[in-house]
Amino acid sequence: MRTLRQIHLLLFSLLIGVGVSHAQGCRTDYTFSFANYVSGSYDGTYIYTSVLTDGSGSGTPGLGCNYPNARHTAKAYNLLGSTGGWVNSNPGYMTGYLSAQNDEQIVGSPGVEYVFNWDGEVICTVFGTLFSGGSDGLVRII
């Protein structure tokens, strides 16, 4: 049987927030669905962490939305130890599909705790933050 070492993600201070700013004169009925997934593993040498933010929207912007100028960007933050940072998707239009995947790895030792901070965001240049959720935590191999 394959030896399996488990990696535990200790996530603290989970913050899920939604903030949308006002775009004057814009009338719209818009639905979006964004998801975020944070995961980790260990192969006996390296700790691997991954943060994925993806999703898309649907709807019809009305007059005044200036939607051709609106861009959405998915963001994934993955800081493992002192390695990593933000990865951004290519900017997309409001109903486009967005994806940002941020993979990091460091050499890890059992019993040692390593900083693992992550976040996932989707930002609209017109409405501001559409999706935000992240946490500061630790990763420990047991």
Partner: protein, 150 residues
């Protein structure tokens, strides 16, 4: 929030309510995270193997998942690229945007098709272990579905 009416805001934290994370979302996120495009580097293969080891698959089942998810990644990327090109073309032409719900349905269909392929190709225990692992991983997922009416 000023001047906006938000209806049907639905933020799901999988750590608190994993049962509310749809399987279609959970499998998609897992497939995208663990799946690799063709000809991955040795480092990417090691990473993938480390993630797959958590599902407690046999070597044969693990190889099958690698192959099926590679196909998923290629098809998913092609689908997303084509859809985004349609959106961009519509914006530049000043015509109506393509229906995002159609894309999401196609995306979820691909996820389901991939699950069906895995069910056929994996051992019974392998599929059960993979499914149990992905259900557990829902605790590390967050989903935000929001209708914005302004």
């Amino acid at each position: 929030m000023n001047g906006m009416d938000h209806s049907r805001v639905n933020v799901i934290d999988g750590r608190e309510h994993p049962e509310l994370i749809p399987d279609s979302v959970a499998y998609r996120m897992y497939f995208l995270t663990v799946g690799e495009f063709p000809n991955p580097t040795d480092a990417r293969k090691k990473r993938q193997s480390a993630f797959l080891s958590k599902a407690r698959l046999s070597d044969k089942d693990s190889s099958t998942v690698v192959r099926v998810l590679e196909d998923f990644r290629v098809k998913f990327a092609s689908m997303a690229t084509a859809y985004n090109a349609q959106v961009e073309a519509a914006v530049k032409a000043g015509t109506g945007l393509p229906d995002g719900n159609v894309f999401m349905a196609q995306r979820d269909r691909l996820v389901q098709d991939t699950r069906d392929r895995l069910k056929l190709a994996l051992s019974v225990n392998g599929m059960a272990n993979l499914d149990a692992h992905i259900q557990t991983e829902k605790a590390n997922m967050r989903l935000n579905v929001q209708q914005v009416t302004q």
